[in-house]
Amino acid sequence: MLQGFCDEMLEVTGFTKRFRGIAALDNVDFSLNEGEVHALLGENGAGKSTLINLIAGTFPWAEGVYRINGRTITSLTPQVAQEIGIAAVFQEFSLVPDLTVLENIFLGREQSGSLFLKRRQMRQAGTELLDGLGFHLPLDEKVAFLSRAQKQMVEIAKALRMRPKVLILDEPTASLTDGEADKLFHAVALLKGRGVGIIYVSHRMSEIRNLSDRVTVLRGGKRIGTVVTSEISDEGLIEMMVGRPVEQLFPSIEHRPGAARLEVRDLTTQDRSVIGASFVARAGEVVGLAGLVGCGRSELCRAVFGLETVEAGTITVGDKTVARPSPASMLASKVCYFPADRGSEGLAMARSARENATMSSLDLPALSAGPVLKFWREREVIKAPLADLALRPMAPERKVSAFSGGNQQKLMLARGLMRPFDVYLFDEPTVGIDVGAKVDVYNLIKSLVEAGASVVVSTSELPELINLASRVYVMHEGKVVAELGQSELTEAQILSHYFGGRA
């Protein structure tokens, strides 16, 4: 054995975890050194969150050895993990909305005399903790009133109240702006300097490149490899992550642009999230909407479908202008919209897949006779669309909440396949779903377009824009700032318009 000081402070070997018999994590090894940032990379469902949850003690592991500072641990709870110096900041926060920033930082670890709280002492300690991280937060504001970025900072400060030796950060920049993310990177560097080992989960290549010393890539619950960050290219990492070269994910789509199906002129929404936007979508083509999150492309789709209040501008579907767009009138004009937020806007989670698939089609003659549903036909009618989408498992009676994210997304798409539409609006169709489901969604888009429909895709994923679209509109601060034809669709070209600049 090593003599004296142990450089490798955390080591897990052969970690395995099954949920209902399915291995979420399969024989994974992982180690962390003092003062190291070790990135975890993988698609959704690759096992990243299972691994960090096991390390943080959220639930027990089935097989494997867990050693920290050379000591073997047999079981762990979140409390014990905190006490031995492992702290985690998950994407889902553990903050209480009705307590203040200061109260949250010390929640469950209050400094207290025999009876009363040592409020002054906690204020002092809390101030020092936040100052040490360079975070400026109103100590006495209720957490409910904070922005997501500020909550993230509180969560990090809270994780550090116990002076942990290992800090787990789960996609910490997912909701931060660049400036806020810089603060976080600064704090990470600071902690690293103090010898804290950091497990950093992220999708973003640039962060992994700038922050991490090593990267471990997971796919399908297995460890694909651990590499020194400076010794591998971005392409190499992506290929490890998805298991095949990036280009092979996308089907080749044959675009045959025809008549204009959807024409938006100078559209401005009441809340100014969209300002004077115009675009055309033709039959037989995929039009991409690009831009940063918050640039207005989601709101543009929502406005077209009548979900945002339109203040000025016209929307023409086919040859008739829709004066007052509403979901009902747009559906009647054969425009279909798939929202980005499946949970709150798309699906009734507690109801079956079948009911969700037919929810907006119950007026079809195939499904109803006047007020009476032909419930005996329902099961037949949904078979074909669910098969086209390759729903897994093919269990139409199962509750939607029991399906994976990708398959929930397919159920929402199934709604649009119950009857033919002329225009399909997709808002972030592949957010939070695994590679297999992504490919199914891409194939669906291909078959819709090649059957002559017009498809509009709003997405943050550059490869999707480049590989699926025939034309791309780039938005910035609510305005359409550029239109790019197929020959101009390169990553650099699209990105050059992201900040409103002209190429």
Partner: protein
């Protein structure tokens, strides 16, 4: 650049009006309007004897309302408050009746014994409520509703609905009708409980944990708060306070009665909600609940003075509660905007 999301909340930060509303401004306004209007319409309101009467009613509403507040801020409801009052009244009188039969000379000891017995029963009920809510994660609303029915059944079974007389005379004169420094003893007791609640909420870890558990149970647990224990303490304290109310009411009425407290579940929830306690837990302060209880005591008294039929009094209480609920909802909407 993307819009700086960190800058946004500043606009949300409460305006002066919001602050006023949050700091119990509504209750204070309600209270002042009620007092002034009553005094103008019915000068007998300001009569010393009447005011003492109002204080007594206030005290006997305040204690169970604080009990309700404890449970509601912890994210629950206690519909069994009134039934605990009834059963502890029966227990108080029964212990006293039996005890004085054996030891006729030890009146004070027997009074204390009956207090301990009543509060013990209240604590037991609270513990049962908490156990069902916390360990089986049953709905607090249903658990305490069922508990209310069980307790009322027990109290009625033992008494057959007949009041238990034979309560110690010194108990009636010394506690229920007694005064100290010109104010009813029950008011002093209620104020001690109120101060205890304020201190607990502001200056102890327990108080903070109750808010945390009520605001977001999962987050509280992840933060290392012993959520089961915190819930148990909240329900047990609530049961004990309800039992204390039963004890005090017995001394005021001069008998143990299984039929009292029937409307207390509604009245205490009304006082709590008017006092700004959130129906979703996590928010609410004892001092504001006290103002709301005083407000309810004043309008009840006003209606008695102008001889409003008791049927209409129930109607008014319901209407006031609906207004309070609407305000609670509007404030929430503002917060989420």
């Amino acid at each position: 650049m993307a819009p700086l999301s960190a800058a946004k909340p500043a606009e949300h930060r409460s305006s002066l009006l919001d602050r006023f509303l949050m700091q119990g401004g509504i209750v204070i306004t309600f209270l002042i309007v009620a007092v002034v209007a009553t005094a103008l319409v019915e000068p007998r309101f300001l009569n010393r004897l009447n005011l003492i009467n109002v204080m007594r009613n206030f005290a006997l509403l305040l204690i169970p309302s604080l009990a309700q507040m404890l449970v509601m801020t912890a994210g629950g409801f206690d519909l069994s408050v009134g039934a605990v009052v009834a059963i502890s009244s029966v227990v108080t009188a029964a212990v006293m009746l039996v005890g004085s039969g054996y030891f006729p000379d030890m009146e004070i000891a027997i009074i204390l014994l009956s207090l301990v017995a009543a509060i013990g029963v209240g604590a037991l009920v609270g513990l049962t409520n908490a156990g069902l809510v916390a360990s089986l994660s049953l709905s607090p609303f249903m658990v305490t509703l069922a508990m209310m029915s069980v307790l009322m059944g027990i109290a009625l079974y033992f008494t057959q609905g007949i009041p238990i007389y034979g309560v110690a005379q010194s108990f009636i004169t010394g506690v229920g009708r007694g005064q100290f420094l010109g104010l009813p003893i029950v008011l002093h007791v209620a104020l001690v409980v109120l101060i205890g609640c304020i201190v607990m909420q502001r200056f102890t870890a327990l108080g903070r944990h109750i808010y945390a558990v009520g605001s977001d149970l999962r987050s509280a647990r992840l933060s290392g708060v012993a959520t089961g224990r915190t819930l148990a303490i909240a329900y047990v304290l609530a049961g004990m306070l309800a039992a204390l109310t039963g004890f005090l009411m017995t001394s005021r009425l001069g008998s143990g009665q299984s039929t009292i407290g029937g409307t207390l579940a509604l009245e205490t929830i009304a006082a709590a909600v008017i006092g700004g306690v959130s129906l979703r837990g996590g928010v609410g302060r004892a001092e504001h609940v006290a103002l709301a209880a005083l407000f309810l005591a004043v309008i009840a008294n006003a209606m008695n003075l102008v001889q409003v039929d008791s049927k209409y009094q129930t109607l008014v209480l319901g209407a006031v509660l609906i207004v309070a609920l609407a305000i609670d909802r509007l404030l929430l909407r503002k917060r989420q905007a």
